[in-house]
Symmetry: C2
Subunit: 218 residues, 2 copies
């Protein structure tokens, strides 16, 4: 799958005189990780300030304080960059959601932990959140075919729900459907929070944890 030349930067193939091959890492000049980080950050900020259609490579470069052409050292093109940013952010979110989730824990408690994790993550990472919401609904996402890696990210969560179903505590429905009832209420309240319509406080969180549980419990 990896058609990206950047992925192979550090690998060198060498054929010896006797025709044996050796593989080793090249000791080439390192790419500056701060650079790609700055590019990501600039992209996030601009997307949330002026939107998809007005965020250009030039503007990204200017805010990241690099040359436009430098971006193409790190990414094949604009789509590639946005796609990599998306998977990166989505992975951070999924890791945060399952943090502190234990297999032997009661499912009801686990789902509450997950929803609290999600709320904390969204409120603390406004840029991530708004970017995900924009990108999730763009045709570009479908075009990039990232479904496999997405499924992998959320496998722990699906497994956890699977156990709840096995125990007979949850309704016998698709895990992704049950997850829907826990995920979207949190994002909806986070959106209202950022729009200034009511704070997403502890009380609000408790309310929706109750509602979501009522929905998914057997």
């Amino acid at each position: 799958m990896s058609q990206d030349p950047h992925d192979l930067d550090r690998v060198i193939l060498c054929r010896l005189d006797d025709n044996r091959m050796i593989v080793y890492y090249s000791l080439m000049r390192h790419k500056d990780e701060n650079k790609s980080e700055a590019i990501f950050q600039a992209t996030l900020e601009l997307l949330n300030e002026i939107g998809f259609s007005d965020t250009s490579m030039s503007k990204i470069a200017k805010r990241a304080q690099v040359s436009p052409s430098t971006i193409y050292v790190y990414f094949a093109n604009k789509e590639d960059m946005l796609g990599k940013l998306y998977t990166r952010v989505k992975e951070k979110m999924s890791l945060n959601m399952v943090h502190g989730l234990e297999a032997d824990q009661p499912v009801q408690q686990g789902m509450a932990v997950m929803m609290r994790n999600l709320r904390d993550f969204l409120l603390e990472n406004r840029d991530y959140f708004l970017f995900l919401e924009q990108f999730s609904n763009s045709p570009l996402l479908a075009k990039l075919c990232l479904d496999e890696s997405m499924a992998l990210m959320f496998k722990p969560l699906h497994d956890y729900i699977g156990r709840g179903k096995q125990q007979g505590v949850l309704k016998q429905l698709d895990a992704s459907l049950l997850l829907t009832y826990c995920y979207f209420p949190v994002t909806a309240l986070a959106k209202e929070h950022f729009k200034g319509n009511g704070e997403f406080n502890e009380d609000r969180l408790s309310e929706i944890i109750k509602l979501s549980w009522d929905a998914i419990k057997a």
Copy 2:
């Protein structure tokens, strides 16, 4: 509110010699309603095919089979056009959602009707749906400040839920929060439907009607 000069096209004010005023309609050449309709339709198609950032006025004009400059006869600019398209589509959706909803009907039945209406509307209007999903999360929407008219559109639905709360049938929480538990599961399944992951059939609909009701009932 109406700062759009286009809204006043058919009205002419005239001051007579004795200072009296008369108001009459001008007999100007009619704007072709098919034109603005074609522009809307072309925009919807392109947005869902190539996304926000690649949908230009030229492409819209070409697909609508009009000149790019003709678009500016009907709309002030690109933002104005997108905003008008959004309110138009959103209004169609809200009208569809409350269709057949009667005040004297049991609330549980009413909410089921609403969710079925929503599913039917989304499945029959793929372009509308995908456009709404994209636009709802863009910074442009916030910039246009359409909240007032949106609130007005969904007032019947909020009132209906308000009655349910008054009867003690629904939980005593914000109507918009209760609505969230009915709205998002439908849109989530519609998305999966269009992605080819399982048909959004009658069985699936019955499932989420049950779950949503479990969530919002008192």
